[in-house]
Symmetry: C2
Subunit: 348 residues, 2 copies
């Protein structure tokens, strides 16, 4: 294994000079720099991570904690994870993957051992077990999701309330007066993740404002569940002409069922989905949708912890409250259109 000392000897300089060439923490004459860089290349030197962490008490590692449950929409989580890893590399950091498996203890372990300099928590719940530990850890942390009490924490999330309002605005703008929400699975509401409720709040608020009637039904992702939910919706509100779908796995079954029932999209019924753009484009009818900005959430979370660690150029700010709600963007595709003139029972 090539060490810094060997590089120093090879380049005819002292160890500290090599170290400073690497870190850029003091000015080096371009002559020495060249020779050192040359030696580094020739010897194939890589600084030892452990030694560096020990001496500098910074590991250059960010811990990313995934939720225990897997009922979250997986592609979004994956996209966040990849964005976190990519952005972290841009800041000379690596990412340690923690699953919820170990529970809140993982926070203590990773922080206590100095394994990670900072952490990012995904799928944060309103009352999250991990938050007390995160607060007392006194390490930069960023949450993806919005807890009930974000005091002293950094959080990024999609502005779900605005998302809800946007969906209603779009449908109302097309003359829909009676809409239904195909919501998340009941378990999601019970777990109090917050985002589902916030979406509903936004939907209800804007509906009230615009005089639109709303019916909300939670819905699992299975075909049967969607069938049942749809049946109950049309049973209770036969005049429904607009649907907002928040459960991504319900989308395909939903479209399939509507087609089977002879309800044309968007002629008879308009559908707005809250889902990744990639999904919205692949369905049988391209979906008007509000995207979940997974990449941006991951990127911002990393930038937040870097800033809070004092590595962003600005001074450190661990402990400051910082809530960032990303504005929703609605993309109009083929699944929404004007409300049918007479919103009566099934056509034909």
């Amino acid at each position: 294994m090539v060490t810094l000392a060997e590089v120093a000897r090879h380049a005819g300089v002292s160890a500290s000079t090599v170290s400073y060439v690497l870190s850029g923490k003091r000015t080096i004459s371009s002559g020495t720099r060249q020779r050192v860089e040359q030696s580094i290349r020739e010897l194939g030197y890589h600084p030892n991570a452990g030694a560096r962490a020990l001496a500098s008490s910074r590991s250059n590692i960010i811990a990313l904690m995934m939720p225990l449950r897997t009922d979250m929409y997986v592609p979004v989580m994956m996209e966040i994870a990849v964005a976190v890893a990519t952005t972290a590399r841009e800041h000379q950091h690596d990412v340690l993957l923690l699953t919820g498996q170990e529970g809140p203890e993982a926070v203590r372990r990773v922080v206590g051992s100095g394994l990670a300099d900072a952490m990012i928590l995904m799928d944060v719940e309103l009352e999250d077990d991990r938050l007390p530990l995160v607060r007392e850890a006194r390490r930069p942390a960023a949450l993806i999701g919005l807890p009930a009490d974000p005091r002293g924490l950094a959080c990024v999330d999609l502005d779900f309330a605005a998302t809800g309002r946007l969906c209603v605005e779009h449908l109302a703008g097309h003359g829909h007066r009676d809409i239904a929400v195909v919501g998340e699975a009941p378990a999601v509401y019970e777990r109090h993740t917050g985002f589902a409720e916030r979406t509903l709040d936004g939907i209800r608020e804007k509906s009230a404002e615009l005089g639109v009637r709303v019916l909300h039904r939670p819905c699992e992702g299975s075909y049967e569940s969607v069938a049942g939910t749809l049946a109950r919706i049309f049973d209770e509100r036969p005049g429904t002409t607009g649907l907002v779908v928040q459960n991504e796995s319900a989308i395909e079954p939903l479209l399939s069922l509507l087609r089977q029932q002879g309800r044309a999209v968007p002629e008879d019924i308009s559908v707005v989905a809250i889902c990744p753009d990639q999904v919205a484009g692949q369905t049988s009818v391209a979906l008007t949708s509000v995207a979940i900005p997974a990449q941006e959430m991951g990127r911002r979370a990393v930038e937040m912890v870097m800033t809070r660690a004092g590595l962003g150029g600005a001074p450190a700010m661990t402990g400051t409250e910082q809530v960032e709600l990303l504005p929703p963007r609605l993309t109009v595709r083929a699944s929404t259109g004007p409300a049918p003139a007479a919103a009566g029972p099934l056509p034909g």
Copy 2:
């Protein structure tokens, strides 16, 4: 920060004793052990990861390298990643998440810096860029997937050839004589990932053996693409009564299209899918399927690197070739049945 030295003082022993209590590498009288453990708990001591890595030249970290492309089926990748992380913890290791972003260089960086003790590569291609570096790294590594030349490497994968044979056997057993394969996207074949070809090989072999006719068509996941593929299949082979689907994202559109065309599953046409069990159970018609054993692949990969690192109880064996193909399991659900008596054109 609590250090080992402080624990030692608190317990009235020497630093090395504390270290040995922690590692179990020498026998400690139960008296001292108790006192040390007590002190550790009281002081909330966590060994410093950097110091430990430096002194022992083992980081207790496994690098997991994900593919750059995102056209792999995401839920499977995620499941593998979670299984890797979970199993790693059972072996006192953490997982570092690397994306393909950096390319093969990432291997060099992580290994050179001693950041990771071992690595696991996902989505390995037949001629994978990373393999030369992995070979010269002389660190334990495990591949998920099977390269053209596995010499000196450890690999786990589903036995896709056997999977193909199994699908054909099942359909042939139900009297199907004319089957079609809805394959992966053309890009997957072009990239030479191997698994798609191996599945086909198995399908063709068993078909030849059993006198079944096979038509293969690559297929993207989009609705249009599936529609086109299906049209071409039934155009060319109207008598097709069995379908093997390998592209998971094609499944929902496929079922939806068959229904629209008035082809009942399984009465008119049988469908076997190669996909996670969870997907197979959620579709409108529960799918007879061969599962991708994602969890087991992740788990085995970790166990392989642990063994090769000499941490599995047995002696180390880096450099030994070790190819492990997991046997496929076919689960019969509702999407397959006897071939219709007269396999003619569309019913009705």
